[in-house]
């Protein structure tokens, strides 16, 4: 398995509070991604990064922000959590610079917003 860790693995928080999820990789891959997984929707891209300090929005970015200050870390912040953000969040990495590349996924973070 690729060296990807996510923290925390489980979190329960209240509506209106800020939440930060962390993704850490040891593969030195250039690209990092945050997805959310919800029943009936599959995986939807929230934000992705193509290098340190280089990020862009995905299809469901409203209410989320990201930061990448180091190659190995990609943070996802929910500015003010809402119940609709209850989901499982997956981080993924890839390195297209080496050719066409598949993604490798982290173990996921289950977030519940009450």
């Amino acid at each position: 398995d690729a060296g990807i860790t996510q923290s925390p693995r489980h979190k329960v928080t209240e509506t209106g509070t800020p939440v930060t999820l962390r993704c850490h990789q040891t593969e030195n891959h250039r690209y990092m991604y945050w997805y959310r997984q919800d029943p009936g929707h599959g995986l939807r891209l929230i934000h992705y990064s193509y290098g340190v300090k280089d990020t862009d929005k995905g299809e469901v970015s409203d209410g989320y922000s990201v930061s990448r200050s180091k190659t190995e870390d990609f943070l996802l912040t929910l500015e003010s959590a809402t119940s609709s953000q209850t989901s499982v969040y997956f981080c993924a990495i890839s390195d297209p610079g080496t050719g066409v590349a598949e993604q490798y996924f982290g173990p996921g973070t289950r977030l519940t917003v009450t």
């Binding site: 890839s94 050719g99 598949e102």
Partner: protein, 115 residues
């Protein structure tokens, strides 16, 4: 907008039955295609991938998929399923011949294999 359709949302099979899961993508250019599997409570793992060349690709655990460009399809097959194949299966694609960085996923197919 580009998308991936997985028409079978839930599939139930008995052990030793043959499996075919449908996947169609909507994009007219060159694509890279993937099938991922997610076992209960786990993260997604790559089953197989197609970038170019032979349209019939073989993956892990006896799975294979065939790219049919004219049908925009990349169906997943396995001749004889096992109970341990119970999982959710996701089809995905990315655009271009190389260097692409965004992947579009289907909504998944839940497979249940009865022992």
């Amino acid at each position: 907008a580009q998308s991936v359709s997985q028409h079978n949302h839930h599939v139930i099979l008995s052990e030793a039955a043959s499996l075919e899961l449908g996947c169609n993508y909507s994009y007219g250019g060159t694509v890279n295609l993937f099938w991922y599997v997610q076992y209960p409570g786990q993260h997604l793992q790559l089953l197989l991938k197609y970038f170019s060349g032979d349209p019939l690709v073989k993956g892990i655990k006896g799975f294979e998929a065939e790219f049919i460009k004219s049908k925009f399809s990349f169906n997943l097959r396995k001749p004889s399923v096992q109970w341990s194949d119970t999982a959710e299966y996701f089809c995905a694609f990315s655009k271009g011949a190389s260097g692409t960085y965004k992947y579009i996923f289907g909504t998944g197919t839940r497979l249940k294999v009865l022992a």
